[in-house]
């Protein structure tokens, strides 16, 4: 195996064009390497590239660690960051790596979906901006083409007034989500709800959003209907972490709880 540790993005893109496997925090890739599931011949380390760690307002470099998002991110993104792995993992793992892995259970994804963020991707032939819903293409699959690297997450200039993240897992510490969710609510009532771990990609539930956005001050029964529509709108599977039925139920309960926090 060869390993490059360039200081500039251009050098990293050249290595990626030659087929090098990108390595950021290593918290996903290295597990596969240690278990012999992947044997990259060429690795390009991204940690030394200062440009990827830049964070200017709504443009967050892909090399920004979860530790920084936990400390400096917008509320729901920071809440999500706090539940990513553990302190050691948050110190190493990056928001770009989370997107590169594109796990359906990625805790960072619902926020990006809820606020309609885009992912900036670069290659030696230029840069492109991909909306989140085109970026995630399936479980652990994304729109990245060979030779491309994720360079940034681009949030909208203005975020909704309120936004809250929550997750359900089998234990409190360092757990992979059974369901994770972000609900946003803006001043005029416009509401979004995005969930992870309950479908092949992060998903929004438009039916629930439309119904509750029309309620300026939702009654108890409106909140119940919102939860029901979320449960109905998700597409979970049964796997070793949970069952389809439980995930459906938990998605509705969690979304309602987060909406109530937004309304409080």
């Amino acid at each position: 195996m060869q390993a490059f540790h360039p200081k500039t993005l251009d050098e990293a893109l050249a290595a990626a064009a030659d087929g090098a496997t990108p390595l950021a925090g290593g918290t996903d890739l290295m597990v596969e390497v240690n278990f012999g599931k992947r044997r990259p011949e060429m690795v390009v380390g991204l940690r030394r590239i200062a440009e990827l760690r830049e964070w200017e307002r709504s443009r967050i470099g892909s090399g920004v660690t979860w530790r920084r998002v936990e400390r400096d991110g917008p509320r729901a993104y920071a809440q999500a960051a706090r539940t990513v792995g553990s302190p050691q993992i948050r110190n190493a793992a990056t928001i770009g790596g989370n997107l590169g892995t594109a796990s359906p259970a990625g805790d960072g994804h619902p926020f990006l979906a809820a606020v309609d963020a885009s992912i900036e991707i670069a290659s030696t032939s230029g840069r492109r901006l991909v909306p989140w819903y085109e970026f995630f293409t399936g479980p652990k699959q994304n729109a990245l083409q060979p030779g491309e690297l994720i360079t940034a997450v681009v949030l909208p200039e203005r975020l909704p007034e309120r936004h809250e993240f929550g997750k359900v897992g089998v234990r409190n510490a360092m757990v992979i989500s059974t369901v994770c969710c972000v609900v946003t609510r803006d001043t005029e009532g416009s509401t979004t709800v995005a969930l992870g771990s309950v479908g092949p990609t992060p998903i929004r539930v438009p039916a629930a959003e439309e119904m509750i956005s029309a309620e300026p001050s939702p009654s108890d029964s409106a909140l119940g209907e919102f939860a029901r529509l979320v449960s109905e709108g998700v597409r979970p599977i049964t796997d070793h972490r949970s069952t389809e039925e439980y995930r459906r139920h938990a998605a509705g309960v969690l979304a309602r709880r987060l909406l109530e926090r937004c309304l409080a």
């Binding site: 540790h5 597990v31 706090r82 993992i89």
Partner: protein, 162 residues
């Protein structure tokens, strides 16, 4: 790289994990290898002052970095207050998780000198212990926090109260 204040240099295979470099090349065997997946935290060391898991990092990624292991936190033969806390409050049984647990605790206390029980539990969430149930580890960190503030550590919960 610098390890525990000493400059070290070596030629290693790019595939060598940092933890294996520390243990096998430098013979610093206090850092343990547990799961090799980033779950257990036994391999926790500080790289440039931040705790990370040395089993999911190539040694070459730490080229030029400042690395601190469990061997590097005592000074002049005196235990670090966190080590003392684990001793005094029985924060270990088998000891396998202890070096990593201590490195996470040291990092936590460097950012927060008066952590609540909840903050301590959140700070060590990346370290698994199969013996203690964490209860005494929390007391060990509380002991160390008090020591580092120059205060008398709180009594252990099995002391006094009669």
């Amino acid at each position: 790289m610098t390890v525990n204040g000493q400059p070290v240099s070596a030629e290693v295979e790019p595939r060598t994990l940092l933890v294996h470099f520390l243990r096998e090349d430098l013979r610093l065997t206090g850092t343990h290898v547990g799961c090799e997946t980033g779950y257990c935290g036994a391999c926790t060391v500080h790289v440039d002052g931040e705790p990370v898991k040395s089993c999911t990092m190539f040694a070459v990624q730490a080229d030029g970095a400042n690395v601190t292991t469990i061997e590097g936190i005592a000074s002049n033969g005196d235990l670090h207050p966190v080590q003392e806390g684990f001793w005094e409050r029985h924060g270990l049984q088998c000891g396998y998780c202890t070096p990593g647990m201590i490195m996470s605790s040291v990092a936590l206390l460097s950012k927060n000198d008066r952590p609540s029980e909840e903050e301590i539990r959140h700070g060590i969430e990346g370290n698994l212990c199969r013996c203690t149930g964490y209860h005494n580890i929390v007391q060990a960190v509380q002991f160390a926090a008090a020591r580092m503030r120059g205060e008398e550590p709180p009594a252990a919960d099995w002391e006094g109260g009669e």
